[in-house]
């Protein structure tokens, strides 16, 4: 009948890079948006769903999501990790650790998990929820693996670890600590139907250079573990040199500072731009006084009478590691020098301790001394035995281990049900494309909310937490920078008549015409909502805040505003500015009971129909609170809102209800501390006009 396009053949929508980059595919966009709207519980629920360790990840996740955040192309990434943290901090523990997640019927099969790190805990969590009898073995007294014995306290207080582990105990998981498994076969004979090896990479490695075996030459993992176990290590007056430039090396250096070291230096092969540690970790170490010596290879540890005096280095140009593991570099002649120190700590890498594996080689190892697995199913070469995390991949992120835990749990469940574990693994999601320059040019630049941190001098002197976390208001502001990638406007091609309104109105120049209908290009849409509100054919709907959601909110607002003895006033409040940079809940609590607001992310989303709907439902007065002209989050959303308000005022005059019952307020995000006063002028006017003559039966 028409030459219109067919709807897309697949229903799978491309996901934003943050979600794809997260190994656990956490719905980052979902929880960030919930925070942007002030719904912290919903944010927690979303963040918790794919992640049994959200409190921990909120503090120490390496957040590959931020690395891929498309706001990088505009200014700086959304502070996703800090937002997860605030969601956990504001979560009401009485609602449970895993709201909405169920536990399956109990099953008879027993599963053994070797290693209580993030991967092991995740697999245990998933399998326990499926109903399996799970036992987790760990060779250390406390649970958590690297969370307990690797990550320093100033980054992850151990109460946070306990917060995550307590609910795992409640799931009925049996934990056996101080138990080093040395015979996997015996476990399988002992009634365990499957095992997951998640032993991490706990062994630090020294380079084979002269004097590396002196007592004052230490190793990263052992050092961090001793500190975590509470061993008294006094470094007062010591001059420490950390060899290595990764995140663990930074942990080692900052821990050494906190143990009283007089001076802590770091040296590594890489340059200041290629150093593998995260930039923010390096910055914090530098703030605390750690000195970095880049572009150096280490020849020997210089010692006199068994006492370390320094490390003999040569300046290099380092290009990376060869497949053999050897460094690819050129040494500069005549650059040999000694970096002075009296204590050396190697932080040049670590690997798994695989001495527990069966001697017969039935669980095969790779040439890199990791466990060999099928990468899809994580099955080892021994049937029923699966492995994941650092022991398989080499050093990775916590969230990688969590993802491996999920994968292993799915495989083990399939294995125990006689299914092919490969058949139960989800396919990798499709990722949204990049933002175009043109789109970027229209996106409002917004500074990233800085993470409040403990004072540098104070934090050097203790293991107290460095990051202090966002307040609610900071969190909302930080979340409102999210571009809501991939969850914007959608065109119903059956209804679109190619009127071009969307093409003309979009402030980001996103919609295009494709074979007779409009298409809002999903990669570029900024979810401002203008096309959906202006479409005369109602052919465009929003992923979030669609007409049905809004009508529900309006209905609730009118109901609550009525019956308070005062005119019932319903406001549509732009979350970017209407609350003047304050906590909306605080401002709302100060508003009189007869004034109720419906929150919107930009007043440009307020359709004329919403205004009419409020009156139809019996509101005595209605207002729209948007930003000042020129400072709209979406360029001109507030201008369109004002035009719509003017149009509906005219309609109201025509039908005799009175346009004076409707007002548009343009408020500044900084100066509008008191919405109350602004709304009071409308309330007074409405009082003069008397109650709305609209009577609902």
């Amino acid at each position: 009948m028409t030459d219109k396009r067919d709807p897309p053949a697949t229903s799978a929508e491309p996901l934003p890079p943050c979600v794809v980059a997260c190994p656990a595919h956490t719905d980052v966009r979902g929880y960030v948006r919930a925070i942007a709207r002030g719904d912290f519980e919903e944010a927690y629920r979303i963040a918790r769903e794919p992640n049994p360790l959200p409190y921990i990840c909120g503090k120490v996740c390496a957040h590959p999501c931020e690395t891929k955040c498309r706001r990088n192309d505009v200014d700086e990434p959304v502070a996703i990790c800090a937002l997860k943290r605030v969601a956990t901090e504001l979560h009401d523990p009485r609602k449970g650790h895993a709201p909405g997640l169920s536990v399956g019927e109990p099953k008879e099969e027993k599963v053994a998990i070797i290693g209580a790190g993030p991967g092991g805990l995740t697999a245990a969590h998933d399998l326990a929820r499926m109903g399996y009898k799970v036992t987790v073995f760990d060779s250390y007294p406390q649970l958590g693996g690297t969370l307990q014995y690797g990550i320093p306290l100033y980054r992850l207080p151990r109460e946070t670890v306990e917060t995550e582990i307590a609910p795992l105990r409640e799931l009925g998981i049996e934990f056996v600590t101080n138990k080093r498994i040395t015979d996997v076969d015996a476990l399988l004979k002992d009634g365990f139907r499957a095992a997951f090896l998640a032993v991490g990479s706990q062994l630090g490695r020294k380079l084979r250079i002269p004097n590396a075996d002196l007592p004052d030459v230490w190793v990263n993992m052992e050092f961090l573990r001793k500190v975590a176990l509470g061993e008294k290590l006094d470094l007062a007056g010591r001059h420490v040199l950390v060899l290595g430039g990764g995140n663990v090396a930074i942990d080692v250096a900052r821990t050494a500072l906190r143990l009283g070291a007089k001076q802590v230096d770091m040296t590594c092969l890489e340059s200041c731009t290629t150093q593998p540690a995260h930039a923010w970790e390096i910055a914090e170490a530098l703030d605390e006084g750690v000195q970095m010596f880049h572009d150096r290879t280490f020849k020997e540890i210089v010692a006199e009478n068994g006492k370390v005096k320094g490390v003999r280095c040569v300046t290099v140009s380092f290009r990376g590691f060869l497949p053999t593991g050897a460094p690819d570099m050129d040494e500069f002649p005549e650059t040999e020098h000694v970096l002075p120190c009296d204590l050396v700590i190697f932080a040049t890498g670590q690997g798994p301790d695989l001495s527990f594996l069966p001697q017969d080689g039935s669980v095969a190892q790779t040439r890199r001394r990791t466990i060999e697995v099928n990468p899809v199913t994580l099955a080892t070469t021994k049937p029923g035995v699966f492995a994941g995390g650092d022991a398989v991949t080499g050093v990775g992120f916590i969230i990688d281990a969590i993802a491996a835990g999920h994968r292993a749990a799915r495989s083990i469940d399939a294995f125990l049900r006689g299914l092919d574990p490969a058949s139960v693994q989800p396919s990798e999601p499709e990722e949204l494309g990049d933002l175009k320059e043109k789109t970027i040019s229209h996106i409002r630049r917004l500074a990233r909310e800085e993470m409040p941190k403990a004072d540098v001098e104070e934090r050097k002197a203790s293991f107290a937490e460095v990051d202090l976390g966002y307040t609610r208001v900071q969190a909302m502001r930080a979340a409102q920078r999210c571009l809501t990638c991939g969850a914007g406007a959608k065109v119903d091609t059956d209804k679109c008549i190619a009127c071009l309104t969307c093409v003309r109105i979009c402030p980001y120049e996103v919609p295009i015409l494709v074979r007779g209908t409009a298409e809002v290009v999903v990669d570029q849409c900024q979810a401002c909502g203008l096309c959906a509100t202006e479409c005369p054919a109602k052919a465009i709907s929003m992923t979030f805040d669609n007409d049905d959601d809004m009508t529900k909110d309006i209905r609730a607002a009118v109901r609550k505003a009525k019956g308070n003895g005062e005119p019932a006033i319903v406001g549509f409040a732009c979350l970017y500015c209407a609350y003047g940079g304050n906590d909306p809940n605080v401002i709302k609590a100060k508003l009189p009971k007869n004034v109720r607001t419906v929150d919107v992310l930009c007043s440009g989303k307020v359709d004329e129909l919403y205004l009419l709907k409020a009156f139809e439902l019996g509101a005595d007065g209605v207002f729209v609170a948007g930003c000042l002209e020129g400072v709209c989050h979406n360029e001109k959303g507030n201008v369109h809102a004002a035009q719509r308000v003017a149009y509906v005022k005219k309609l109201l005059d025509e039908i005799g209800l009175g346009g004076a019952r409707l007002e548009m307020f343009n408020l500044s995000p900084q100066s509008c501390a008191d919405m109350n006063a602004t709304v009071a002028t409308l309330t007074a006017k409405v009082k003069e006009l008397g109650p709305s003559p609209v009577r609902r039966s």
Binding site: K495, I497, L609, L657
Partner: protein
Amino acid sequence: MIKAKQKPIAEIQQLIAPYNNVLVLGCGTCVTISFAGGEKEVAMLASSLRIASAMAGKQHTFTEATVQRQCEWEFIDAIANQIKRADAVLSLACGVGVQALAERYPDKVILPGVNTTFLGMAVEHGVLVERCRACGDCVLGLTAGICPIARCAKNLLNGPCGGSQSGKCEVNPETDCAWQLIYDRLGRLGQLDRLDAIMPPKDWSKDYDGGPRKIVREDLKL
């Protein structure tokens, strides 16, 4: 395309006053594009009428529907049940749609909700202008692509008249003088000599004056 403008609400209220159950029926093509009678306008009008009805303490019902084109039997047949249930249909289509409904539903009251205004285009978003009078005898080939029938208040074939003032029309100083536009554009095209020839009187029988017009394509008839 056909351009239309919604009637003032007071007039609509008068039209529908006798009826309790009114179907507000939009049209998904021309009037949608002219922001007069598409699904959104239907919803806004219905909402406004509900408010007005409630203010008057009445219990009128306003249902809403929009079809792709009210000027096609197949599309209006598809909503026969909704039309039958209503006491009256308030059509937001152009006059063609209103009449199609009236013809297809002989026992139903069909009322117009818009004034069908002209054939034209949006020169900018929200600004619609007339460009064609459907005179049935197009002269655009002689007038540099600018219509003196639709755009000259006097429909002059040999303009301009003495009321052309600095390129504007004496009837409405905001309107460009069509003949000034024709003159300028012929100049650009190097065809000013065309103005030397007097255009003979037009065959107005092909316009409204010849009565309702009809096009029959024998080759297409089923």
